[in-house]
């Protein structure tokens, strides 16, 4: 349809008066929206051509939501084979989001992918769901576009008749009003169809549904009334009633035949969609586990002899998996707690020593907090290197302070006995904290050593007199 390379895809916009056709068209063509709207109105006045054109675009052009949904669905089956193809996992995720380009180019892709899924025996994750998915989609796309083209042609025909009537003899109002009623009713009903399609993404509430049904009924009533008036204009009432009765009977019969078929079709669609969602989720999890856990397990098997390596690998993997399982994607990054945890992870990785972090409260990271994290990292390194047992790190952020405690269970040391040329404690921990207006306290006993770092949140020169006698160094 509209596959201009450099243009944004033609989709109906959310900024809409009736169905968003004009705004979508304006964005696609790069014309001002107002111009497009005025042009459309002018075209509509010129014998209804604009109306027909608008209706045609309305039917043929998807909304932005629908287009996005269609694109996002496409990786569904391609990911599944990625489970069996080791390193395709990362590329499979980016597969797909091309511009909306009509049906012919779209349908073969999932089919081929589905076929690949069945070909690879390991891809047991999804083949059951993806094979019918491809076939089904193929059938539906063919059908749907046939129907829409038919509708478009019908509308064009109607517009043509309208033009002929306007150009020819002046048409009596008695014919125009029912026609307008029919068109209006149809438009209302179609808008409703549009709504339900969009609402299908989100679970709609009962109230919405009721309103939707009311609109559908109103549109239907308008159309029926229009048809009735038109028909009754040409014949007697008795004939009209007869015609109405027979058409209702025919419609009822058709509905009776089609209803179970439609229901079944709908149910199939629902199960198929649910199955595909499950398959996608499963493929995503499988891809992640493959990249992380399975790789680590393989490494552990190869290094089984080296205990510290195994512990280190296991800890690192545990951390990664925890992060993936429990991390709240809505939570903003760049928090102080994140910084402390990252420092602890780094120490764990380099020294293979467990570092347990507990945080209470949080605040965004600033430049001074960076110093706090660096000092804490140095303290953790010392604790892991010299202390025995697990290292405990506790971060507490209150309104006025950020405090970090780093505790180990080593044999302890005498801070006074640290040689002056050892920069670790003196410079990296105490000096750094003092320079940024904080304090560092070290207390050591045979049960272990604890380093306490305290930093006021505001940059007040609290540390000018530094160490307020507490620093025993």
């Amino acid at each position: 349809m509209t596959t201009a390379v450099s243009r944004p895809p033609l989709v109906r916009g959310s900024d809409r008066v009736i169905a968003g056709v004009c705004s979508g068209l304006a964005r696609h063509l790069g014309w001002p929206l107002r111009l497009v709207r005025i042009g459309m109105v002018v075209a509509a006045l010129a014998g209804g051509a604009g109306v027909a054109f608008y209706a045609w675009l309305w039917i043929m052009v998807p909304t932005a939501d629908e287009s996005a949904k269609r694109d996002s669905r496409r990786p569904a089956s391609p990911i599944a084979p990625a489970v069996s193809a080791p390193f395709a996992a990362s590329t499979a995720g980016t597969y797909g989001p091309g511009p909306y380009a009509g049906s012919p180019s779209e349908s073969p892709t999932p089919c081929a992918a589905a076929a690949a899924g069945t070909a690879a025996p390991e891809a047991a994750a999804a083949p059951a769901g993806s094979v019918p998915a491809g076939a089904w989609r193929n059938r539906v796309t063919g059908m749907r576009y046939g129907k829409e083209i038919l509708l478009g042609a019908g509308l064009l025909l109607a517009a043509g008749i309208l033009i002929a009537r306007l150009l020819g003899v002046d048409v009596p109002l008695g014919t125009l009003i029912p026609v307008a009623a029919i068109l209006g009713g149809a438009a209302i009903a179609w808008m409703q169809l549009d709504e339900t399609r969009r609402a299908g993404l989100v679970d709609k509430t009962k109230a919405d549904q009721a309103g939707g049904w009311a609109r559908l009924a109103a549109g239907l009533a308008l159309v029926v009334a229009g048809v009735l008036v038109m028909v009754s204009g040409s014949g007697s009432w008795e004939q009209t009633w007869l015609a109405l009765l027979s058409s209702v009977a025919v419609l009822g019969g058709v509905a009776l035949v089609l209803l179970p078929w439609g229901l079944k079709f709908w149910r199939d669609l629902e199960t198929e969609r649910a199955g595909r969602v499950r398959a996608t989720e499963r493929a995503e999890i499988a891809a992640h586990l493959h990249d992380s856990v399975l790789q680590t397990l393989a490494l552990i098997q190869r290094r089984a002899g080296n205990e510290s390596d195994v512990v280190r690998l296991a800890r690192a993997q545990e951390r990664e998996l925890r992060g993936w399982l429990y991390r709240d994607p809505g939570k903003e990054s760049g928090q102080l707690s994140e910084g402390i945890k990252a420092a602890a992870a780094e120490v764990e990785d380099t020294l293979g020593h467990a570092v347990e972090v507990v945080t209470v409260g949080d605040c965004p990271m600033s430049e001074r907090h960076e110093a706090l994290v660096q000092a804490a990292r140095e303290a953790m390194l010392n604790a892991a290197r010299h202390g025995g047992g697990a290292v405990s790190v506790y971060l507490e952020v209150t309104d006025g302070w950020a405090e970090v405690f780093v505790k180990d269970r080593g044999p302890g040391f005498d801070p006074d006995a640290v040689p002056a040329d050892r920069l670790g404690v003196r410079e990296s921990v105490i000096g750094r904290m003092n320079r940024h207006g904080g304090t560092a306290t070290i207390s050591s006993s045979p049960d272990g050593t604890e380093v306490r770092l305290r930093l006021p949140l505001s940059a007040a020169p609290a540390g000018a007199g530094n160490s307020n006698g507490e620093v025993r160094l």
Binding site: E356, T359, Y394, F405, K407
Partner: protein, 224 residues
């Protein structure tokens, strides 16, 4: 599932291990000190409720995530064993340190919460403590408590269940910093018994406090 009654009423502490991983159960059994007798094991919610009712152990080591039942895991076992809560004590054991899991299982009646990575000696210690009627707080659980109740000490006007006293806050802070009960007692110049009293008081508040923030906090804060 299998309940191997360990015979005569021994002086040791009788425990039931509830965990769906057989490897973990056998590993834990081997790790526990000899004075702790494993009187039964279970791997599902239904199995656990049945074994606990039959064995009536002193302590149940309860995994938070369990198959079976209505999907409630450890919480469901606690609910199913509610009549026994007076005599049998529950120590929750999990690889998860999500706040929601920890707080919900404590509020369902568990007397403590430890992560599965701690050593056998530490677990044995925790079992003895729980059997003695005390609460077992890991640093992480103490962190959760501080986060949920806030770090400001209680006003006199406040409902006492909704706030921690200044002393309880001190104890919680030290536990969060990695102090053992003994170290806490030494640091605050109080007896270990007093530390245990404070911790039990905090546990009671955690279980009984009706303040809505607590539940909301746990639900919002999905990770540590």
């Amino acid at each position: 599932m299998s309940s191997t009654e360990a015979g005569s009423p021994a002086p040791g502490i009788r425990v039931v291990i509830v965990d769906d991983h057989a490897i973990f159960r056998s590993g834990l059994k081997a790790d526990l000190d000899p004075d702790i007798i494993v009187a039964g094991e279970a791997g599902t919610v239904e199995g656990a409720v049945a074994v606990i009712a039959a064995v009536r152990p002193d302590v149940v080591l309860l995994d938070v995530h369990l198959p079976g039942g209505l999907g409630g895991g450890g919480r469901e076992v606690l609910a199913g064993s509610a009549p026994l809560l007076g005599s049998t004590r529950f120590l929750a054991l999990s690889v998860s340190d999500a706040a929601e899991d920890v707080v919900s299982v404590i509020r369902a009646g568990a007397r403590g919460y430890v992560t599965k990575t701690i050593s056998g000696a530490q677990i044995s210690d925790a079992v003895r403590r729980v059997a003695g009627g005390d609460a077992v707080f890991s640093p992480r659980l103490a962190g959760f408590v501080l986060d949920a109740f806030g770090t400001a000490p209680a006003d006199i006007a406040d409902d006492e269940l909704d706030r921690l006293s200044a002393r309880e806050l001190e104890v919680m802070r030290l536990i969060a910093r990695g102090y053992s009960y003994k170290e806490v007692a030494k640091e605050l110049f109080i007896s270990i018994k007093t530390v245990e009293t404070h911790v039990s008081a905090v546990l009671r508040k955690l279980q009984l406090s009706s303040r809505h923030e607590l539940t909301r906090w746990a639900a919002e804060r999905r990770l540590l």
